[in-house]
Subunit: 527 residues, 2 copies
Amino acid sequence: MVQWNNLDTVKAYEKLQSLKDHVCLQRVLSGEDGAERVKKYVVPMAAGMTYHYAAKQVDEDVLEALKALAAEMQLTEKYEALYNGEVINTGEKRLVLHQLTRGQLGRDVVADGVNKRAFYVAQQEKVADFARRVHSGAITNAKGETFTTVVQIGIGGSDLGPRAMYLALENWARQNGTFHMEARFISNVDPDDAASVLKSIDVSRALFVLVSKSGTTLETLTNESFVKDALKNAGLDPAKHMVAVTSETSPLAKSSDYLAAFFMDDYIGGRYSSTSCVGGAVLSLAFGPDVFARFLAGAAEEDRLAANPDLLKNPAMLDALIGVYERNVQGYPATAVLPYSQALSRFPAHLQQLDMESNGKSVNRFGEKVNYVTGPVIFGEPGTNGQHSFYQLLHQGTDIVPLQFVGFRKNQAGMDVDIQGSTSQQKLCANVAAQIMAFACGKEDENPNKSFAGGRPSSIIVGEQLTPEALGALLAHFENKVMFQGFVWNLNSFDQEGVQLGKVLAKRVLAHETDGALRAFSELLAI
Amino acid sequence: MVQWNNLDTVKAYEKLQSLKDHVCLQRVLSGEDGAERVKKYVVPMAAGMTYHYAAKQVDEDVLEALKALAAEMQLTEKYEALYNGEVINTGEKRLVLHQLTRGQLGRDVVADGVNKRAFYVAQQEKVADFARRVHSGAITNAKGETFTTVVQIGIGGSDLGPRAMYLALENWARQNGTFHMEARFISNVDPDDAASVLKSIDVSRALFVLVSKSGTTLETLTNESFVKDALKNAGLDPAKHMVAVTSETSPLAKSSDYLAAFFMDDYIGGRYSSTSCVGGAVLSLAFGPDVFARFLAGAAEEDRLAANPDLLKNPAMLDALIGVYERNVQGYPATAVLPYSQALSRFPAHLQQLDMESNGKSVNRFGEKVNYVTGPVIFGEPGTNGQHSFYQLLHQGTDIVPLQFVGFRKNQAGMDVDIQGSTSQQKLCANVAAQIMAFACGKEDENPNKSFAGGRPSSIIVGEQLTPEALGALLAHFENKVMFQGFVWNLNSFDQEGVQLGKVLAKRVLAHETDGALRAFSELLAI
């Protein structure tokens, strides 16, 4: 049986705290020892990628302390409990099964009377079959024309992850002959969001994917009505242009309003649902089921690596523990995610949700207030754009912000240009290498305004190219990192009670059941 | 003469520090007193907007201390010095004149032998004339066809601000009959960025705006070559498809490679350049010069409000000082920007650069290290999307993150739908009102996992609709807020030495002039 303990009750944490400011990056990265360190501090990931932590403030002492922490917190055992189907989401009394959408690491998991792996695979096959029929022209609009655009209607986890994944593979798919349909996304309840998308597409050739697990998400149902009105106004039958992704028990499940319904369940949280039908429907329609299968394969391989009890061979666990060291020992309040790949432009927004919604909590899994800080603020933009923007603060600001870089040796689109002796891709890669060292080691200057203190830690994940497998591996890496950090902080990373109060109050505002300051603010906004 | 002093040397700061945790939001916002507070704590802004700070942790005591701080730090006098043309950017020994692109608050400013207001106006007129000739068909492609798309090539301030402004007014312009050309943006040196834009447009009908003040920005020149290759490959003459926005002394200024050149100068930093030709060219081409002029008028009106020495009538100064209280007294490390308007989807990314690049510094304007924290981390996404994402941490995380909301009573696109008794716009507005109160006052629950501690401060800027004037006012408000905070922290908010080291090292990597860890990282990325 695993023991669920608060971080500040375990011995290894005491040891770790004694190692504050233990490593000087300028020193360990200098000279040929520095080069050796770069070659040594690396962990293989799935899809041929590698996780590099030479520019993190760790050494053998810190790593030993992290190993002890991993063991004492039973991280491997807790992950095993999770994938073997224990009730890890204690708040909502649910299993946590998103890994099961892409592979099976442990025992058969049976819930609600069915084998859950078989259930997820069956849904994937249903999606794949539907997508193939759309692509072949077996399913068309009323005029017999093929669908050319797929529009996802969803919010939060039904939007950020699938959108980030779509953007990540759009150029790759075009280049590799697997681009079937353009995808667009409607999420915000702001009517200008839906209006803008609808004005920019041919609705008569569009297929809409409505995503809501409960079938009751207010923003999503509102946008569904918005879209249905637009379809009716164009003389079209909405039921011939929409599919639903929902749970079997939702009001949407059996509705004749949809061409098809694909099912998810309560064991997969929104922010962990990109590898379920929530991501599967739109990605299979856009790029074909085979690309989606490759994406799942990359994630599955990464999930297996996360089960390795050897910390130095487990990239997600190591990344998680270094993050805990930075947050709870070094005291850094935020983390920046900086992919050197334009295709990952919205990946930081997905990680922002994944991380901040999972671990932005003040009570442990038993509902007791914890006495240490938990999830940091997560933000980021692609490099090199960020370099010309907020990197100023990262280099010379008064707070230290740990950095997570991602880079690929090859670009996706197969177009490049040679200027001043190097290609754009080489410039991109040169910049990320340069930034790692600039942050870590800084540079003295007699003008203090031009001095760089250094000592700013970063890690980098490097891959050959952002392929479907690499993307799946990246996604799973961060899901597993967040999971391990939740275990260390003794949080339930799989509920989100913090979003409820706002919903309740908004309903009250709309019903005009308010007084005092809330009424005053509502009047201000003309409600 | 103004005195430039560090924050921790002035008396008013000592007083302010004694007021830590002085105000309990739950108390001051309760009952009818709370409603009165909402009605009282408001400052008029330009374009009919209002700044509301009832949900900030201030009261008469804190406001008195902030007034004393404003006086002792001579904030109004420093702003006067700036707009009267003193050398405020001491590091680079430059005037700071972005306000002069939209109006004249003080004396004539003469530099480089010319009246700078007249210079900026002349450039605006040149842009306006050019845009009108493009729209009328007087300037066309070689086949005599009109240009339909404008593509901005620039990075950092030449990208984030103009892109955010374009997205902010796209729907408004379509709805108001002033939409002339679609705009696209190429920024990243990642070749997939340019490839993706070029594949999605008809290059034969595209006009490219190359933006680089120095004419030497590596990313921008690389992307220019990328675009020129694409034009040549399509059998087109690049010189007939490109204009330049640059300084008069740059190598681009007199080049015959461009249809026209519009000028900026060294007195306007990239992140402050949206109201110069950097924003003016693309926005005038997209929406027409009259819309751009309305945008400038809103900014000018807001600049005038910032000159008011009465803190309670000066929204930018008040916003700035409350931010200093939150950062230096309350100790909050980050600020979230949360516009309840999909059109402002990239406004937070612009503010992230504006704020973090201006005030993310550790030395004062004389190059001496300061002993207090300066600029916070800035991040954000539009509501309601953020509600379904990172708001969990904002509501229940272990750190408090102050919030900056923005909301409008009317949407832009003129389409809406009524569901369950309310429109989408009403739902949007109800949500932001609800969130303010949920953050400020929280809610007790016997289940600690469902408890909200409250005490999380926010302000909101409210407007009738996001018009060009309102957008200009918003932009200027935040520019002036950042300026005032820089004055309080005694920083030079107008240079960015922190971006230099990375550039130097990247060049060394590309020239293969590296050793040790930097060489090892470069090899890893196949450079």
